[in-house]
């Protein structure tokens, strides 16, 4: 039995089922509220959800039991002298030490919790970056959406922000620097591409078995790094489009990545009316279309950056993604075949296997 946490524009839906069949909605929380992201910390079983009320602002809630009340986490706020309030929380990621979590949000902010998500503190070194006044947002705001920890080394972390590129620390977040060399922003004039920090990363993942390897889905580009994010190499050849939002890797295979291409920045829908996932198992040297069981005719879906996840590893790895159409699709064989797990949900913001 697999449990999926599906964050939607109108609440959190918990789905349960077995790969290959329809999933059942077993609970719903935050009815009517946008849930940007929800996850379960596998170390302690705690559920965490990022909820952005149009009325009451962004909050994180947590619970150890889905049938019990959710508790509001404390400390998720910006300093009083900040120009704008906290806008949204985009991701929560377990760190390397027990009960330590990271949360990323807009406007380009990093929070840390040392009590399993009950209370949070702003990472001030990142907040006080001197270039911050020059940072620009992407369409979803200036969102920190990807936080890549380094298995076994709590001091090394990579962050990605739309649209402020990749940031690296080797001292546990006391100091930060860019990791952008090789990223190529077509949305800038040619003469500005070399020096710009307006780099719109859409998603970033690190291989846990080969941590110096990372993959990026960019705002027009797919990249790989073999040196822990110092430099990036394009691996988009072979894809129908290099535009897209989410990305998944097989944690057991450092040469693996999955993307869901969309037509382009001006047409953020699946190309040719076909929904296809593309898989590489050779670090981006080649890509294979995976669409068996997915809509293949008149299907113009949009899949957002947190709405794709994997569970397990190898040939039986499960994959799940949701679209703004309210459909959720799954695979129980690492993408070779697909099934429809749910339909008629509100627009899907995020999907995570619990």
């Amino acid at each position: 039995m697999t449990q999926l946490l599906v964050g939607t524009k109108k609440g959190l839906f918990v789905l349960e089922g077995d790969a290959g069949g329809q999933f059942a909605i077993t609970s719903r929380a935050f009815a009517g509220e946008p849930v940007e992201f929800a996850t379960r910390d596998s170390r302690n079983g705690r559920y965490l959800a990022c909820v952005t009320s149009a009325f009451y602002g962004p909050k994180v809630f947590y619970t150890d039991d889905l049938s019990a009340e959710w508790q509001q986490a404390a400390g998720l706020e910006l300093p009083e002298d900040a120009e704008k309030p906290l806008e949204r929380l985009w991701t929560i990621v377990p760190a390397e030490e027990d009960d330590h979590l990271y949360a990323g949000g807009a406007p380009g902010v990093l929070f840390e919790s040392h009590d399993a998500g009950a209370s949070w503190e702003l990472n001030k070194a990142f907040w006080e970056q001197p270039t911050r006044p020059d940072w620009s947002p992407g369409a979803g705001g200036m969102c920190m959406h990807s936080i890549a920890t380094w298995p076994g080394d709590p001091k090394r972390v990579a962050l990605a922000i739309s649209a402020v590129g990749v940031w690296l620390t080797e001292d546990g977040g006391r100091t930060w620097r860019h990791g952008n060399k090789g990223l190529y922003p077509r949305y800038m004039p040619e003469e500005a591409r070399e020096d710009t920090i307006d780099l719109c990363v859409h998603n970033m993942h690190r291989s846990p078995t080969k941590p110096e390897r990372l993959f990026i889905q960019f705002h027009g580009g797919v990249y790989r790094s073999d040196d822990a994010g110092e430099t990036w190499t394009s691996i988009a050849d072979g894809l129908p489009s290099d535009f897209g939002f989410p990305m998944v890797i097989d944690p057991g295979d450092p040469d693996s990545a999955y993307v869901i291409p969309l037509v382009a920045d001006l047409d953020r829908t699946t190309p040719e009316g076909k929904v296809r996932v593309y898989e590489t198992r050779d670090a981006g040297a080649s890509w294979t279309a995976r669409g068996d069981g997915l809509p293949s005719e008149d299907a113009y879906l949009t899949i957002l950056r947190q709405a794709f996840c994997g569970e397990g590893s190898g040939p039986s790895m499960e994959l799940y993604f949701g679209a703004t159409s309210g459909d959720v699709f799954g695979s129980g064989d690492a993408g070779k075949s697909w099934f429809t797990a749910a339909t008629n949900l509100p627009p899907v913001h995020s999907v995570r296997a619990a």
Binding site: S136, P137, G138, A139, Y187, M188, P189, E191, L266, R268
Partner: protein
């Protein structure tokens, strides 16, 4: 004269031209000249109040420009959809 570089679909509205030479001392003046020379571009870059649309970036060479940014004859203006749109 300053050169305005356009991408699709704006270049199609300018008769297929990806570069247009136009007169003007500010970004707004150059873009208004573009509208006069290629009326189909009217309303696409500047709104009805003469402001650059929210999700359009206008660069003067490699720097972000605003309506009042000064433009010299040797400058190149790039009109590009912002990543904040879409």
């Amino acid at each position: 004269m300053p050169v305005v570089r356009l991408r699709a679909p704006l270049s199609e509205l300018a008769g297929g031209k990806r570069e247009v030479e136009l007169d003007g001392a500010t970004v707004a003046e150059v873009l208004q000249a573009l509208e006069r020379e290629h009326p189909d571009t009217r309303g696409w870059i500047l709104d009805e109040h003469g402001a650059i649309r929210e999700h359009i970036n206008v660069f003067v060479n490699k720097e972000y420009g605003q309506e009042s940014t000064a433009v010299s004859p040797a400058d190149r203006l790039h009109v590009i959809p912002a990543i904040s749109g879409g």
